[in-house]
Every structure is written in structure tokens, then in C-alpha cells.
């Protein structure tokens, strides 16, 4: 199909085109909701079955980094919304600025996520053969606060009491297995989320390039709006991930 200006051949009008694109994106987001939905269900069922072990796992996540990331992502959602506004009101200088800000905030998020992942690797909290809930308390790094470590030890000991197994070693195996489920889900959910962030960042690079060319105007800004919808959706997923993974049972520390 031939393209006339910004109008693709299968459409009659720009309005119809925008209508289709927006609806298409919303429907795609519904699909995404259900895609993450499968993970949320797996999480819910296992949280129901292994409430304590999941609590221990959640408390091993870094609340400060998680909260910072939430703020960063909310801010990037805001700058994304401002990009849409800039495009709609024909502010051709502001538009790339806000888009770049969004992109940078997204980068900061991924950077912080990298730091968190690295911590988990260092603490042997990655599912697999070397998974060990007690690695950190047994191998403290120089910078670790003793108070924090003591709290962590206490929590694991409390949790062990609820695991229905025998010798301390076997109890630990069971707790490890259940906590490993938590971390499998943690990496699965945040990993899939990060993958979405990376795709979003790729889309941002594309619209930033096009915005420098001045392609987006008050009458044609569909791509900005579409990328915006996607970006906000990724933000929403994180809002829930933060609550479910980082916050539940946090008080028990």
C-alpha cells in the first residue's frame, strides 16, 4: 500500500489511521496485561502456599533501591506524558527534550535494576544450584551493617520454624526451595518487565530521532502517543511488582 505523506494507503483519513493505531495499542496492552497475568497468578498461588518463605524472600530485596526505582519510573511516566503534550501543542523544541528525559530516566531505572541483580548474584540468591538463602549472613561483606545481618539471621531462623521439615539442614533445604520459588518469580517478573523497558527504550530512540526531524506536529503525533501508552503500561506493571515483591511482609524485619 502506498503512503501519502503520513497517511498509509489502507486508510482513508489521518483520523482513521490514528484511531486504528491507538485502538491497536490499547488492545495490545490488554494482551500484555494477560501475559503478565499468568505470572501474577503463579505468584499469587505460591504466595498463598508458602507465605512465610515468600516473606523472607521479599525482605531480602533492597527496599531503598526498589522505592527509588518506583520514583524514577513515575518521573519518567510524567516526562512521557509531557512529551505527548509537547507534541499535541506543537512545541517542537520541548518534545525531544522530554523524550530524552524519559529515555534517560528509563536508563537510570535499568541501571538501578542492574545493581540490584548484581547484589542478588553476589548473595547467591539466583535460582540454581548455588542458591543459598544464608549465603549473605554467613559470608558478610565488609560494608554490611551487623544490625541488618542480625535481623536477616533472625528472620531466617523464625521462618525455619514454620517449615515443616526435620533436621536444621533439611529445614533449610525446604526453606531454600520455597524461597527459590520466590526468587524465580522475582527474576521472571522483573526480568520480563526489564525486557519491556528495553523495548520501550528502543521505541524512544526511534521517536527521538524522528522528533529531531520535526516530523511530529499537532495534527500528526500518533507514534508519540502510542509509545506513551506503552511506556505508561510498563510503569503500571512496576507499580504492582513493587507492591507485591518488595512490600508485603516487609514489616517483619
Amino acid at each position: 500500500m502506498h503512503r501519502t505523506g503520513e497517511l498509509y494507503g489502507q486508510f482513508e483519513t489521518l483520523e482513521q489511521q490514528k484511531d486504528s493505531a491507538t485502538l491497536g495499542m490499547w488492545i495490545f496492552l490488554v494482551t500484555e496485561v494477560l501475559f503478565f497475568g499468568g505470572l501474577f497468578l503463579t505468584y499469587t498461588v505460591n504466595r498463598h502456599l508458602y507465605f512465610t518463605a515468600f516473606g523472607v524472600g521479599g525482605n531480602m530485596l533492597d527496599l531503598k533501591l526498589g522505592a527509588t526505582n518506583t520514583v524514577v519510573l513515575i518521573a519518567s511516566s510524567f516526562t512521557m506524558a509531557m512529551s505527548v503534550w509537547s507534541a499535541q501543542t506543537d512545541r517542537k523544541k520541548l518534545l525531544p527534550l522530554f523524550l530524552i528525559l524519559t529515555f534517560l530516566l528509563g536508563g537510570v531505572f535499568l541501571g538501578i535494576k542492574y545493581v540490584e541483580y548484581k547484589q542478588k548474584f553476589d548473595h547467591h540468591l539466583v535460582p540454581g544450584h548455588s542458591f543459598d538463602l544464608t549465603y549473605r549472613i554467613n559470608h558478610p561483606a565488609p560494608g554490611d551493617s551487623p544490625k541488618e545481618l542480625a535481623a536477616e539471621r533472625q528472620e531466617i531462623e523464625d521462618a525455619l520454624k514454620t517449615e515443616a521439615a526435620g533436621t536444621p539442614q533439611e529445614q533449610l533445604t525446604a526453606l531454600n526451595a520455597h524461597a527459590q520459588l520466590f526468587f524465580s518469580l522475582y527474576f521472571g517478573m522483573t526480568g520480563l518487565h526489564a525486557l519491556h523497558m528495553i523495548i520501550g527504550a528502543g521505541l524512544l530512540i526511534w521517536v527521538i530521532r524522528e522528533s529531531f526531524k520535526g516530523r511530529f506536529t499537532a495534527s500528526y503525533n500518533t507514534p508519540i502517543e502510542i509509545v506513551g501508552l506503552y511506556w505508561h503500561f510498563v510503569d503500571i506493571v512496576w507499580i504492582y511488582l513493587f507492591a507485591l515483591l518488595y512490600l508485603i511482609n516487609r514489616h517483619s524485619v
Binding site: V30, L34, G37, A164, G228, L247, H251
Partner: protein, 113 residues
């Protein structure tokens, strides 16, 4: 279809509300409210998500059709979660006890044949 331009003022207000929500949810999580912690965390998350959908994503100003799409997403996600959990919450084990009472799942080591 005329486009609704949302003013930056609203965006700023929503941004502040979201940041406030984040502060509240972290603070609430650090206090022990028992099972209410879960409710609070999810309620705040849902409020935040709703704000993002309504204002940042312009669902409030979109045609009914878009709102229907959003409603479908929520509805089907709820179906998936609640109908499955309805099985888990009402399951009884072989003794007629609700499952799981304790973690009464016996674990066999897997042995590949």
C-alpha cells in the same frame, strides 16, 4: 475525533499524587497491620495505576470504546486470578481439611528415568 489536550498542570498534580502514593505505601509497609498490609499495598498500587491510566494514558478523555478495552483487561485478569484461586481457597485434602493447612505437601526427590 478531536483530540483532548490535557494541561501540564494536571500532569504535575498526578505526578505529585503518585509520589505521595509511593511514600505512603512504603511507610505503611514498614508498620505491622497484619494481613491489612497486603490490602493497603494493593489498594495504593491500584489507585496509582488508575491515576496513570486515567490521566497519563488519557483514558478519562478517550472514547467509550477505549474504556471498554481497559475494562476488559481488568475483567479478564480478575477472571484468571479469582476463578483459579476459588479452587485453591476451597480445596480440601484427603482428610477433609482445607488445603493447605500446613505445608502438607510431601516432597519426593525427582529421579529421571
Amino acid at each position: 475525533m478531536t483530540e483532548h489536550v490535557v494541561s501540564p498542570k494536571i500532569y504535575v498534580v498526578i505526578l505529585l499524587a503518585l509520589l505521595l502514593g509511593t511514600y505512603l505505601t512504603v511507610t505503611a509497609a514498614l508498620h505491622d497491620f497484619g494481613l491489612w498490609n497486603i490490602v493497603i499495598a494493593l489498594a495504593i498500587a491500584t489507585t496509582k495505576a488508575t491515576l496513570v491510566v486515567l490521566f497519563f494514558m488519557h483514558a478519562k478523555y478517550s472514547p467509550k470504546r477505549t474504556q471498554l478495552v481497559v475494562a476488559c483487561a481488568v475483567f479478564w485478569l480478575a477472571l484468571l486470578l479469582f476463578m483459579t484461586m476459588s479452587d485453591y481457597f476451597t480445596r480440601v485434602d484427603y482428610r477433609g481439611i482445607r488445603y493447605p493447612v500446613s505445608q502438607n505437601v510431601f516432597i519426593h526427590q525427582p529421579h529421571r528415568s
